[in-house]
Symmetry: C2
Subunit: 305 residues, 2 copies
C-alpha cells in the first residue's frame, strides 16, 4: 500500500459528505473517492440483510481503486453491515462511524459515576444496538438512551435548516425525553445530523456535550493512517482548522452515485460548502465495473461563492 | 384471459396499500397480488431512469402470474415509468393512479371558467408534470398548482396521524400557498396521503374538494375489468361501502416484498385496517423467479380487532 492511494468513503447518499468535509479539514492533501448509493437511499429504515447487500456491492466496486483505507461513512451501514464487510474483505483497511463516536462519547462522559449518554439515530441504527454495545465495551457503567429520529434526514434533504419551525418542533419533540432524563452527552448518530448541530445544541442547552460522529470518524481515519505511515502529509487538528479557516486542499474528490448525478451535485454543495465536479453515474442494478484508470484523476475542487 | 386471474398491484412500498384497500371495497371478490419494493423505497426522490428500472423488474416478476390487470399504485412510478412500461409489456393490461385522479379532479372542477386545481405529491411526481399534462389533456382552461410535500411520507411511515402537531404544522405550511391561491380542488397525488385525508380536509376547509387518487384508481380498475367482462362479481360503489360498512371479502391478498416481511406486515395493518398473511420475500438484487404455482393460492384475510 502506498500513501498516494486514495481514501474511499461510502454512504447511502449524501450524509457521508459530512465525513468528507471533516476528512478534508483534517487531511486536506488526501485524494478521496466517494460513493453515494442514491438509488437505494435511505438505508435507515431497511433491514440488515438488504443493507449488507447494498454495501457489499459498493465495496466490490471500490476495491479495484486500491484504497489505502475505506470508511463506511453511514451510521446505519456501519451498524448493520460492518462486521460482515470486514470479514468478507480481510485485505482492506476498513473503519466506520460508530466506534469513533462511542469512544468520544465515553471520553466526554469523563469520570462521572453513571453518565447518561443519549444517541439519536435512524430506526435501523437504534434497533441494531450498535452504539449501546460500542459504549458498553468501553465502560461498564453508563446509561445509554437511544432515540430514533427518522424525520431528521428527510427534513435536512428537503433543504430545511435549524431555523425552520418544523425542524425546531421535531427536535424539541425528539429530544424532550432525553433532556428530561438529564443526558450528559448526546451522540449525533447519523452523518446527516451535523448539519443541524447548532439547532440541536440550542435545544439541549450548554450542559449537554454533543458528539459529531462525522468529525470523530475523520480523526480516527487520520490516526489509523498515521500509525501505518500512510499519510501524504501530517494531519491537521479540527480546532486549527476552525481558527485558520478552510485549509487549501490539494487532494482531489471523485464521486460516484447510483442515481441522478446533477441532483447529487446540487445537494452536495450544501453538505460540503463547495461545488463538486459532476459525479459519475454507476448503474445500481448491474454489477458495476470501472473502465478508467483506478488511481489517477485530476478532478479539481471549486470552493463555492 | 380469465375472470379468475388475479389483479396485480405494485408500489415502492406501503402507499399502494391504500389502493388495495379501495380495490377490496369496490371489488371484494377479486384475488389481489401486491408487490411492495421496500428495499428500494421511496421512489419519490429518485430519477425517472432508476424508477423505470425498479418497476420493470417488478413487472417481470408479476407477469408469470398472468394478472388480468396490473395497477401501478404509486404516483411517482406512474408519473415516471408508465409510458415505458406500457410500451414494453404490450400484452398486459396496465393502469396507473394519475389519469383517474386527474379525471376526477376535472369532473370536480365542474363548469367553472378557470378552475384552480391543486396537486400535492412527491418531488419526482411534481417535477414530471404528469398531473399537469393529464389535467390539461381533459380541459383547455385550468390553473394547475403543484406542491411537492416530501415530508408527508416519512411522517406517515413514522406512524404519525393527523392529530400529531408536526403533521398539522407540515400540512399548514405545505398547503398555505395553495389555499391563498384559492384552489377549488386538491388532488392527493401520492397513495400515502389518504391516511391524512381528514387532517388535510381540516386545513383546506369545506370549500376545497379533495380527490383521493387511490379511490379513483380502484374505481377505474373496476370499470376497465367490467368493460372486458373480466369481473368475478359486479363492482360495489364506494358510497355503498361507506353506508354498509366493510363488505365481506372473498378475494385473497398475497404480498411480495423486497425487504423485511415482518416489518411490512406490521406497518401494512395501519394502511389496510386489517392483518395480512406474512409477505413473501423477493431478493431485490437477483432477477426474481417464482417457483410456486403462479395462480392458485389460499391466503385468507383476517380483519383486525
Amino acid at each position: 500500500m502506498n500513501p498516494s492511494n486514495p481514501i474511499a468513503v461510502l454512504d447511502s447518499g449524501l450524509g457521508g459528505l459530512t465525513v468528507v468535509s471533516a476528512l478534508r479539514a483534517v487531511l486536506p492533501d488526501e485524494d478521496l473517492v466517494y460513493f453515494g448509493d442514491t438509488a437505494h437511499l435511505p438505508y435507515g429504515n431497511k433491514s440488515p440483510a438488504v443493507v449488507c447487500r447494498f454495501v457489499r456491492r459498493i465495496v466490490e466496486f471500490l476495491e479495484p481503486m486500491k484504497p489505502k483505507h475505506l470508511v463506511i461513512a453511514c451510521n446505519t451501514a456501519t451498524a448493520l453491515a460492518m462486521p460482515e464487510i470486514v470479514a468478507e474483505f480481510p485485505h482492506l483497511s476498513i473503519s466506520g462511524v460508530i466506534d469513533p463516536g462511542a469512544r468520544a462519547a465515553v471520553a466526554a462522559a469523563g469520570t462521572r459515576r453513571l453518565p447518561s449518554i443519549g444517541v439519536i439515530a435512524t430506526e435501523a441504527t437504534v434497533r441494531s444496538r450498535a452504539y449501546e454495545h460500542a459504549i458498553l465495551r468501553r465502560r461498564n457503567f453508563a446509561r445509554v438512551l437511544l432515540r430514533p429520529t427518522p424525520l431528521l434526514v428527510p427534513l435536512i434533504e428537503e433543504g430545511r435548516t435549524g431555523a425552520d419551525p418544523l425542524v425546531e418542533s421535531a427536535l424539541r419533540q425528539y429530544l424532550q425525553s432525553l433532556i428530561l432524563r438529564k443526558i450528559d452527552v448526546l451522540v449525533l448518530g447519523c452523518t446527516h445530523y451535523p448539519l443541524l448541530k447548532n439547532a440541536i445544541a440550542k435545544v439541549t442547552g450548554p450542559r449537554v456535550q454533543l458528539i459529531d460522529s462525522a468529525e470523530q470518524c475523520a480523526q480516527d481515519v487520520a490516526r489509523r493512517l498515521d500509525r501505518k505511515g500512510l499519510l501524504r502529509s501530517p494531519a491537521r487538528s479540527l480546532n486549527d482548522t476552525t481558527l485558520t479557516g478552510e485549509p487549501a486542499a490539494s487532494g482531489s474528490l471523485r464521486t460516484y452515485v447510483t442515481d441522478d448525478p446533477d441532483r447529487f451535485a446540487q445537494l452536495a454543495a450544501r453538505f460540503l460548502g463547495m461545488e463538486i465536479e459532476r459525479p459519475i453515474f454507476v448503474d445500481p442494478m448491474n454489477a458495476p465495473e470501472i473502465t478508467e484508470d483506478p488511481v489517477i484523476w485530476t478532478d479539481a475542487l471549486r470552493p463555492t461563492g
